[in-house]
C-alpha cells in the first residue's frame, strides 16, 4: 500500500507525459523532470542499500537462531541425560513430583498417614563373608534391582537402601488412601518373598550357594514425611515413632516372614490371613505392641470358578477353564494324597 507515497513522482511523470504527447516540453520542464529523475535514482540506490542491509541482518539473525536452537537442543539433550541419571537416585514418584513442579525442593515436612515397610536379608553379613567382592556386588545389586521392580510395580516410594535393607513407604507423595496403601504394602511384601525364591535359583548359578531369605516389617500410622537436611543437601524421607515401629517389626520378623502391626492388620484384614505373633516392646511406645504374621492372601472363590490361595508352604491357583482333562484327573488323584500329608503333619 505505497501508492500515496509516490504521489509527487507520479504527478511529475504524468505532467511530463502530457507535455511530451503535445510536443510542448520546454527546457525548464525538462530540467524539472531531470531533477525528479535524479532524486528518484538517489532514493532507489539508498533503498536498495538499506534493503540489502536488512536482508543481511535477517540472514545473520536467522543463522544465530539456528545456532541458538542447536545449542538449546544440545543443552536439552544434556539435561535429559542428566535427568535420566538423576532419576535412578530417586523414587519414581519423588522424581515425578519434583520434575513436574508439584513438590518444592526445600527443607520442609508434613504429617501424613503412611504405611512403612522395612526388609532385610537374614544373616546377610555371614553370607557375604563367604563371597568374593565381585559376586557380592552382583548378587546384592541383582537382589535390590528385583526388589525395586516389585516395589515400583506396587507403587511404593523407595525411601532408601541401607546395605541389604530396604525402606519404602506408601502414602506420599501419592496415596490411594490409608487402606489401599496398606493393602499394597502387604501385597508387595508377599511378592518380594516369592521373588526372592526365584532369584535364589539365579544367584546359585553365579556362586551364591546359601540362599537369600528376607524378613519384612510393616506398620501404618501418622508419620512426618518431607525433605530433611540442609539447603545444600536434602533427603526425602519419613521419620517418627511409627517408622521406628516398622523397623522394629522387621527386626522381630522370622526368616521369610512378613510381620505387621495391629494398625496394618486392621486395615488389611479383609484381604489377608494372619496369625497373632508375640508382642514386642518398642522405644517410644508405653505399651507392648501386638504383632501379626501374614500367612497369605485370603482364600477367594470368584464367580468364574477360579480358586486362589497363597500361603507360606502353598501356592494355589486353579482355573478350570484352562486346565486340561488330564490335569484335572491328576489333581483329583492328588487330593487324597494331600489330605494324607496334612493329617500326618497334624499328628506329628
Amino acid at each position: 500500500m505505497s501508492g500515496g507515497l509516490f504521489k509527487q513522482e507520479e504527478a511529475l511523470l504524468n505532467d511530463a507525459k502530457e507535455k511530451a504527447t503535445s510536443n510542448s516540453l520546454d527546457a525548464e520542464q525538462y530540467q524539472r523532470l531531470l531533477k525528479g529523475y535524479e532524486k528518484l535514482l538517489k532514493q532507489t540506490r539508498r533503498l536498495v542499500k538499506m534493503s540489502d542491509r536488512t536482508e543481511a541482518e535477517l540472514s545473520r539473525m536467522s543463522k544465530e537462531q539456528v545456532e541458538l536452537n542447536q545449542t538449546l537442543g544440545d543443552q536439552n539433550n544434556k539435561l535429559e541425560t542428566l535427568s535420566v541419571k538423576l532419576s535412578k537416585y530417586l523414587s519414581p514418584q519423588v522424581y515425578e513430583s519434583i520434575f513436574s513442579g508439584k513438590a518444592e525442593v526445600r527443607v520442609g515436612a508434613n504429617r501424613k498417614f503412611l504405611t512403612v515397610f522395612f526388609s532385610d536379608i537374614v544373616s546377610f553379613t555371614e553370607i557375604t563373608d563367604q563371597l568374593e567382592p565381585e559376586i557380592l556386588t552382583r548378587s546384592l545389586n541383582a537382589y535390590l534391582n528385583e526388589m525395586a521392580i516389585v516395589a515400583i510395580s506396587h507403587g511404593a516410594t523407595i525411601d532408601k537402601y541401607i546395605g541389604d535393607a530396604i525402606m519404602a513407604f506408601f502414602g506420599d507423595p501419592e496415596t490411594l488412601g490409608p487402606q489401599h496403601d496398606a493393602i499394597k504394602s502387604v501385597t508387595m511384601a508377599l511378592s518380594m518373598q516369592e521373588k526372592v525364591k526365584l532369584l535364589n535359583h539365579e544367584l546359585n548359578k553365579i556362586g551364591v550357594t546359601r540362599p537369600f531369605n528376607i524378613r519384612c516389617g510393616i506398620n501404618s500410622g501418622i508419620c512426618t514425611v518431607g525433605n530433611f537436611g540442609s539447603e545444600n543437601r536434602l533427603d526425602y524421607t519419613a521419620i517418627g515413632n511409627q517408622v521406628n515401629l516398622a523397623s522394629r517389626l522387621e527386626s522381630a520378623a522370622g526368616v521369610g516372614e512378613v510381620l505387621i502391626s495391629e494398625e496394618t492388620m486392621l486395615l488389611t484384614q479383609e484381604h489377608f490371613d494372619f496369625v497373632p505373633n508375640q508382642e514386642i516392646s518398642v522405644k517410644g511406645f508405653t505399651r507392648p505392641i501386638k504383632t501379626y504374621t501374614v500367612t497369605g492372601h485370603k482364600t477367594k472363590k470368584d464367580p468364574s470358578g477360579n480358586l486362589s490361595f497363597h500361603s507360606k508352604g502353598l501356592d494355589l491357583e486353579i482355573d478350570p477353564m484352562v486346565l486340561s482333562e488330564d490335569s484335572k484327573k491328576i489333581i483329583m488323584e492328588l487330593i487324597p494324597q494331600l489330605q494324607n500329608i496334612l493329617q500326618q503333619s497334624t499328628k506329628n
Partner: protein, 119 residues
C-alpha cells in the same frame, strides 16, 4: 498531535517547535500513517523560526524508508529557506543497522543541522 505507539508504528508527538518519533515503523498502510504527519510538519515549519526533530527508531521497512526520504526533504527544504532546523538521529550503541541508516539519511542533509547520537 500525539500518536501512541502500536506494535507496527512508532510513538509520534508534534508540537509547534518539535517533533519526536520513537519505536518501530512498518505500518500496514504507510500513506494513512505518513500523510497526516507530513502535512502537519509542513504547517508547523511554515510558521516557525526554528524546529527540532528527534528520531529514535529500532526498525523500519522499505515503505517507511521512502516516507523518511520525503520527511527529511521537507526539513531540508525548510532549512534551505532559512529556518533553523536541528535533527537528532538516535540509535542504540549495539544497533549497527540504525546507525548506518542514520548515516544514509545524513548524506542528503546540507542545510539542516543533522546529528547522529548514540544512546
Amino acid at each position: 498531535m500525539h500518536l501512541e505507539s502500536t506494535n507496527r508504528t512508532p510513538e509520534v508527538s508534534i508540537s509547534d517547535s518539535a517533533l519526536e518519533l520513537k519505536g518501530e515503523c512498518y505500518p500496514e498502510d504507510i500513506t494513512a500513517f505518513s500523510e497526516p504527519i507530513l502535512e502537519l510538519l509542513a504547517e508547523k515549519l511554515e510558521v516557525c523560526e526554528s524546529y527540532s526533530v528527534g528520531l529514535e527508531l529500532r526498525y523500519f521497512n522499505s515503505s517507511s524508508a521512502k516516507f523518511f526520504f520525503d520527511f527529511f526533504e521537507v526539513l531540508e527544504d525548510a532549512a534551505a529557506d532559512g529556518k533553523s532546523i536541528s535533527i537528532e538521529w538516535r540509535y542504540r550503541s549495539t544497533d549497527n543497522s540504525m546507525k548506518e541508516a542514520g548515516e544514509d539519511f545524513e548524506e542528503d542533509m546540507e542545510e539542516a543541522n543533522y546529528q547522529l547520537v548514540e544512546i
